[in-house]
Point group: C2
Chain length 315, copies 2
C-alpha cells in the first residue's frame, strides 16, 4: 500500500520529530524505532535535507532592523527585509532564502485573490524551497520569464512550477524561449494568444518577486550559458550594470536599448510601479546591480542580507 519511498519519508519525519521536537538523542531514537544508531542518524539528516523540518528564527536582530529602516528611507521602499549574514564562507542565497520565504508566505496567506508574478534565479529558487507547504489556491501565479531553454529543456527554470506545487495555486508558465534567436522569432511568440494572456496578467500583478542579475563574470547570464565572456565584456562597456528577468539596465536603472533586449522572452518589469515589486538578491558582486535597480525604481522592495545591505548604503 505504501511505496517504499513514502514509508521512508515517514520514518525520516518521525526521526526528525523525535530529534528536533522531542529533543532526544539519536541513540534513543534508534532504540525507539528499532534501528541502528547509524540509520537513525541518516534519517535525521534526511529529514533535514528533504526539507521536512523547517527552522526559522523569530527574532529581528537590531542591527538588521536598522539596516532595513535605512534602506527603506534611502531608496523609498515599501517592503524591505535584511537577513543576518552568514559570514565569509556562507552562500548569500542560503541566508536570504528563509527570510524571503516568510515574506512570500505573507502574501500567499492573504485571503483575497492575488496575481503573483515571479521571475527566476538561484535566490528565488532557494527561497521557494523554504516556503512551508500551504493551500493558497485563491491566487494566480504567473511567470515573468519564458521556460524554454536554448536546448529545448525547461527544467532549469521551473521556479513557478515548484512554487505552485507547494501552494496548489493556479499557475501560468510562459511557453516562450528565454532568448529567441532573432527579434522576429520573439515577435512570433508574442503574437500567440496564450502568450498575450500571460503577459497581461504579469503586467497587472499585485505583487512581483524577481532576482537581480549582475554583469560581472559570475553573472547568471554567463554561468547559465546565455552569454559568452566576450559578450559580457561588450555589455559592460555599453554601460550594462544589472539585469532583471533578462532585461539589461545601466547604472541608473534605465533599460538599455541593447540588441539582445529585443530577443528576451520575458515581461519587462517597468520602473515606477506602485504594486510591490520585490527583488530577492544578495552577494558582493550584485551590489551595483541592486543599487541601480533601486535607484531607477524598477524595484520598490528588497530582500537581502546584512553585508549586501551595508554595501548598498555605503556610497
Amino acid at each position: 500500500m505504501n511505496t517504499p519511498d513514502e514509508s521512508l519519508q515517514d520514518e525520516a519525519a518521525r526521526a526528525g520529530w523525535l530529534y528536533y521536537v522531542g529533543g532526544k538523542t539519536q541513540d534513543q531514537i534508534a532504540v525507539e524505532l528499532g534501528v541502528s544508531r547509524q540509520r537513525a542518524q541518516r534519517l535525521v539528516s534526511r529529514a533535514m535535507a528533504e526539507g521536512l523540518v523547517h527552522v526559522r528564527l523569530e527574532h529581528k536582530i537590531t542591527a538588521c532592523l536598522e539596516l532595513e529602516a535605512a534602506l527603506a528611507r534611502r531608496f523609498d521602499l515599501c517592503e524591505v527585509r535584511v537577513a543576518p549574514g552568514l559570514g565569509a564562507g556562507g552562500d548569500p542565497n542560503r541566508a536570504i532564502a528563509a527570510t524571503a520565504a516568510s515574506v512570500m508566505e505573507k502574501y500567499l496567506r492573504r485571503t483575497d485573490p492575488l496575481v503573483i508574478a515571479v521571475g527566476t534565479g538561484r535566490a528565488l529558487r532557494a527561497s521557494i524551497d523554504e516556503i512551508a507547504p500551504l493551500i493558497a489556491d485563491q491566487h494566480r501565479l504567473v511567470s515573468l520569464i519564458g521556460n524554454i531553454a536554448p536546448d529545448g529543456s525547461a527544467t532549469h527554470f521551473d521556479v513557478i512550477v515548484r512554487l505552485s506545487d507547494r501552494v496548489r495555486a493556479l499557475h501560468f508558465p510562459m511557453s516562450v524561449p528565454v532568448l529567441s534567436d532573432t527579434a522576429a522569432e520573439r515577435a512570433l511568440f508574442q503574437r500567440l494568444r496564450t502568450t498575450k494572456i500571460v503577459f497581461e496578467l504579469a503586467q497587472s500583478a499585485d505583487v512581483t518577486f524577481v532576482g537581480v542579475g549582475q554583469m560581472t563574470d559570475d553573472a547568471p547570464l554567463r554561468v547559465d550559458g546565455f552569454k559568452t565572456t566576450d559578450e559580457m565584456t561588450d555589455l559592460r562597456s555599453a554601460g550594462a550594470t544589472g539585469e532583471i528577468a533578462g532585461w539589461v539596465f545601466d547604472a541608473h536603472g534605465t533599460y538599455l536599448d541593447y540588441e539582445s533586449n529585443a530577443r528576451v522572452g520575458s515581461v519587462r518589469v517597468e520602473a515606477g510601479r506602485t504594486a510591490p515589486t520585490i527583488g530577492i538578491a544578495a552577494g558582493a558582486t550584485k551590489v551595483r546591480a541592486i543599487r541601480a535597480a533601486l535607484t531607477g525604481r524598477i524595484l520598490n522592495g528588497l530582500i537581502t542580507d546584512e553585508p549586501t545591505a551595508q554595501a548598498l548604503l555605503s556610497e
Copy 2:
C-alpha cells in the same frame, strides 16, 4: 541605547542564526562573533531556550493522518490533529504543543476579525509558547476562566495574557475567582457588568481552545490545589470523568449537578456548539476524560498525540 538584555538577545539570535540556518559549528561562530566557544554554545542554547528559533515539521506521517481520519469519523469532528508521540519518556504536552500552535496560528492569520476564546492548562500554555509572534490585532481574545487564584495572585493562569503578548490582540481576561468560596460570591461577580461582557463574548466565540482535565489523582484540579485527594475520590464516585474550564462532566460528557460546579468562575462550554471548539490534550490518564468530552459533543475538535489517539479509538 540598547539594554544589556536586548543586545544579549541580538547576540543569541545571531548565534542561533549562524548555527541553525548557516549550519556552522560553534567554533566557527565563536571566531566570527569574537567570543569563546563556551559563550557561543551558551548563546545558541539561549536562542533555543528563549524560543527565538522555531522548529516545525512539514510532513504528515501517514500513521498520524490515518488516526486523524479515524477520529474525525468516529466522533464527527471538524478539526483533528494528531502529533507523533514522543515515546515513553516524553511529555505529551510537549508533543502536541507545536501542532496545536500551528492550528492556532491558522485561525490567528485569518484576516476577518474573530473572537477567540481560550481556557487554561499546561497543554494550552505549552502550545502558545510555540506560536510564532505575529500581528493579529484584528481578533479579540477572551478568557473562559477567571484569573484570580485562591491566594489572590493571577500569575499561574495567565495563558491569555501570554498569548496576547505574542500576537498583539485585544484581550479580555476574566477578573473573577477561579473558584469562589460560595455560590453567592460567584453570583456577585457574575452580576458585574464587565464580567457579563466577557461571558457573552466567550459564549459567542468563533473558535474556542480548551484543555481537558482528568479526574485521576494527577488531575490539574488536585495538583493546582483546588481539590484534595479526598474530594477527588468523592467526585469520581459521583461519576466525574473529566473537566473543561473547571466544569466537571461524567463519562457521557454530561455536566454534573455537582456542588462545586456552582462556584467555578468560568464560562461553561456547552455541548453541541457549531463553532470550532477544540480540545488540546494528551496523555494516558486523560483518555477517558477526552472520550467523554467528545462523546458528549462538548468538543467538536481535538489536538492530541499518537498514543492518546490510539487509546481513544480502542474501545
